[in-house]
Amino acid sequence: MDLIGASTGVFAVSCTRESLSGAGTLQRERQLNQFLADVERRALRIAEIAVRDRDEALDLVQDAMIKLVNNYAGRPDAEWTPLFYRILQNGIRDWHRRQKVRNRVMVWFGRCGAGEDHYDPVAHAPDPAGRSPDEELQTGQAMEKLAGAVHALPTRQREAFMLRTFEGLDVAGTAVAMGCSEGSVKTHYSRAVHTLRDKLGEHWR
């Protein structure tokens, strides 16, 4: 990557793609496809918990996939995970900003967006195989409680918790994905866990 050019306007172009041609392109396609296939389902659930809407979450994940391929296909594949989640988190933050504006407009026109908080992740889940309805219900309810509590966290705490716990990124990778220092990640994560423990109690599952 050309970091020397970072001080100039050409940086944004020079860092986005290295030479990809012929067999190299084909191999890169396969690697990207495998990477996206590995990450897409967890990314969808993470986005879904953040925005509480599956369709919106699917759009956000697809946007993140396209941006990763367009801008970072030439990057070493070891960097794709934090880069992908950085793109996704930026998309989620933008989505929340747009929602705030939209809600203000709705309030202005006398509509308060009723019904938006009635998203039910359990209702979106399919019937599991090999589990009794009671077990399914119990697990679904526990996940619903957890998803609600995670969604209610402040943005940065939510990001830190989901990236560390759900995606399994380490502190350094989470810092890249969040665009902040490792110290900030530790602070946000610690606060998130304490808040969630307090909110959910000891017997939440």
Binding site: G9, L68, E79, L146, F166, L196
Partner: protein
């Protein structure tokens, strides 16, 4: 008997949360999986199509700059030019600075990437 310390309790909580999350990932329905598959293929097609979107993307800033320049010229050559000596220049700069702002936002990130030695798992070595 010793009380579990806070770190142990936090770890236990995170483990339970992770198990629940993984379970919900496993239970994603066929419709969602199908849409993810479509989205992935659409993304990969960007690579196959020789970055056609990027070719278009290269023209967008140029078009934007040209449009901004045209607006600036129109404003500066307008009938009330004498009444507003500085503001058109400020507006012009604002119109042009969107791209560079985005770039500067990411500078710290790219510097970090260069400094960090990422191993195969994306961890810092």
């Amino acid at each position: 008997m010793n009380e579990p310390n806070d770190n142990d309790v936090n770890e236990e909580f995170a483990t339970q949360a992770k198990e629940l999350f993984d379970d919900s990932v496993e239970r994603l329905d066929a419709a969602a999986l199908s849409r993810l598959n479509q989205g992935r293929h659409a993304a990969i097609e960007q690579l196959q199509s020789g970055h056609s979107a990027n070719v278009w993307g290269r023209w967008v800033p140029a078009t934007g700059i040209a449009a901004a320049a045209l607006v600036a010229v129109m404003v500066m050559r307008g009938p009330e030019m004498d009444d507003m000596p500085a503001e058109p220049v400020t507006d012009f700069e604002i119109l042009l600075e969107g791209e560079s702002l985005e770039m500067f936002e990411d500078l710290e990130f790219y510097s970090w990437l260069e400094a960090a030695d990422l191993d195969a798992n994306g961890n810092v070595g």
